[in-house]
């Protein structure tokens, strides 16, 4: 057996198709079939506005699926072809997002609120959501996730997950309203509906990322980042929906703008990290922990646990919100913040605790791998680079130094080198922990890439 074939690699991508791809295809197929069948049934039997929306939204969902497929396949292409495929994927995802917004706005809200109100709502939600995504990605300080995957996760949360839950929640709500006693029992039922259906719809995106993009899904930290990205995407579209809806409801009373503005504040400022971002981050944490567990039973339990905690967190907010009434006085402002802090704060604290532990664990493991790689003397990581690579702050300082000496080009070249070195250390870590499900491209290929990148660092 040659030395190359004995070496297994998690990064770069595998040449073959691991068995988990089969699970991913099955999950995607189930999502698609459920989406199509239910949208049609919803449209035929309920004939409500959400029914029509879910049916017409299928076009957007198809575009997202195609865009994601092309985007993921692009990673297998030669670098020369890759850019072209990414552009195609981006265009399709962009079209899907626009189409979905159009569907939402035209069929649901603009009849009353008008397209300009919808456009303004989208415009004010965009910077806050972008800020949320920026912060979440930055928190992954050891090895930042690629923007393309973070944005794909957010797009799935915004378009696919919302599309999936509209039909299901409409159906659940219609049945509940016609069978249950209105009041706390019905509220609890609706809360179960939101917790269960919305978290399953959002979590499916994180699960697919875990199954398909394993080499970019390293541990609990990555799971939290991707989960939060899906949640932020979902929150983006839900915010627009609530803002336009409440504007339409209250504008004849002369307080439409106030109602929409309050929704924006509570969902895009106060609840930006507390609501959906926290819930789906919990799912991501479960999947991320499963990524590094040794046996299948524990993996399944970890993934199920993430979903369970997210569903419970979401349920508790929706079901027990009414137990914290808000006074219509200045005190009410303080109460709104306290309510969010008390009801969702513990779950957000749990996510932060898992994130901090994950970052610490990941950081120590990478530092150890940097040292081992440097000790081997292959030239990919030099002993003098170990303390720099170990510290995110020192890496940034070194890049800023490159920027001042050699300009943007030098900065980017060094950034690429550091990223490749981190990839190599991550690869070594996973190999050492036996977390690689099949032999991949040789680790020396990654090492060679680092050495080549080093030549382009000029300062």
């Amino acid at each position: 057996m040659s030395a190359t074939s004995a070496v297994t690699a998690a990064n770069p991508r595998p040449r073959g198709r691991p068995s988990r791809y089969g699970i991913a295809i099955a999950v995607a197929a189930i999502v698609l079939v459920v989406l199509v069948a239910s949208a049609i049934l919803d449209y035929v039997y309920l004939d409500t506005i959400p029914g029509r929306t879910s049916l017409y939204g299928l076009v957007a969902v198809a575009l997202v699926a195609l865009g994601t497929f092309i985007g993921v396949r692009a990673l297998d292409r030669d670098p020369a072809d890759r850019k072209r495929h990414f552009i195609r994927a981006s265009v399709l995802l962009g079209l899907a997002a626009l189409l979905w917004l159009l569907v939402i706005d035209v069929y649901v809200f603009t009849g009353s609120a008008g397209p300009w109100v919808a456009a303004i709502c989208a415009a004010v939600c965009l910077p806050t959501t972008a800020f949320g995504l920026f912060v979440m990605r930055r928190l992954d300080r050891n090895e930042k996730e690629p923007w393309r995957l973070v944005l794909v996760a957010a797009a799935w949360g915004a378009i696919v997950a919302t599309s999936m839950v509209i039909w299901a929640e409409s159906l659940w709500g219609t049945i509940a309203e016609r069978t249950l006693v209105p009041g706390p029992g019905l509220d609890a039922s609706n809360a179960f509906s939101a917790g269960l259906l919305e978290e399953l719809a959002k979590g499916a995106a994180v699960l697919l990322l875990f199954l398909v993009m394993r080499n970019e899904f390293d541990d609990v930290v990555d799971g939290i980042v991707y989960g939060a990205a899906v949640g932020l995407g979902f929150n983006f579209l839900e915010s627009i929906a609530y803002m336009t809806n409440l504007y339409a409801i209250f504008s004849p009373e002369g307080v439409g703008g106030v109602a929409a503005g309050f929704q924006w504040y509570s969902r895009q400022v106060l609840g930006l990290f507390f609501g959906h971002a926290t819930y789906t981050a919990l799912i991501g944490a479960g999947i991320g922990i499963a990524r590094q567990l040794p046996n299948r039973r524990q993996k399944v339990i970890a993934i199920a646990s993430g979903f369970l905690i997210a569903i419970a967190a979401h349920f508790s907010w929706d079901a027990w919100l009414a137990f914290f009434p808000i006074e219509s006085s200045a005190l009410g402002l303080a109460e709104i913040h306290l309510r969010t802090l008390i009801m969702t704060g513990p779950f957000t604290a749990a996510v932060i605790a898992l994130l901090m532990s994950g970052l610490q664990f990941e950081g120590k493991a990478l530092a150890e791998q940097f040292r081992k790689e440097a000790a081997e003397g292959a030239g990919a990581i030099l002993p003098s680079e170990v303390p720099i690579l170990t510290s995110p702050w020192q890496r940034l300082t070194q890049r800023m130094h490159a920027l001042s000496k050699g300009g943007l080009r030098a900065y980017l070249a060094l950034a690429r080198l550091q990223t490749a070195q981190l990839d190599l250390a991550m690869e070594r870590w996973h190999r050492e922990r036996q977390e690689i499900d099949m032999p991949l491209e040789a680790e020396r290929e990654l090492r060679q890439r680092v050495i080549e990148l080093r030549r382009s660092v000029t300062f």
Partner: protein
Amino acid sequence: MRAAPYDPVRTLYRALLVFDVVAIVILAAGLAEFVYFEPPGQSTGLKATIVGIYQYDPATKTTSGPDRRTFARTQQFAAVVDWSSLPQNITVDARWYDTFGAVVGKVGPGSPVQLTDQTTIPVVHAGLKYNLPGQYIFVVDRLENGIPVEVLARRIVLVERS
């Protein structure tokens, strides 16, 4: 015998299991809440009669026009209930819920005979010029220990946005 090396992933896994316990407690509390307000085995087979939902004049406190399922937001409306179809040994009330689930009109609780002079139940939105658009649910409930446990009659009407 060497101890297994410490693996932080196992600590994270255990933390997840602890959070799991909290999640199960929350969901169990939710289920208990649901069962408390929606107790099983409460179906008596009784049916109340909702005569109809009509346009309502708050000045004269009278209804007019045909039984309807949709209203404009500027139109006041009320449900008319025939309490005589119910036995006298039960406690009932009638309520309107707006699109946000808030009670926006109510009579009772009391026995059907106590409510015979309150057959018209209007929707009243305090502090608003118009009705909020959306789905309104009108129910006649049977109560046990002050809690509605069974819906004896139900009507859903839509208040249009325009």
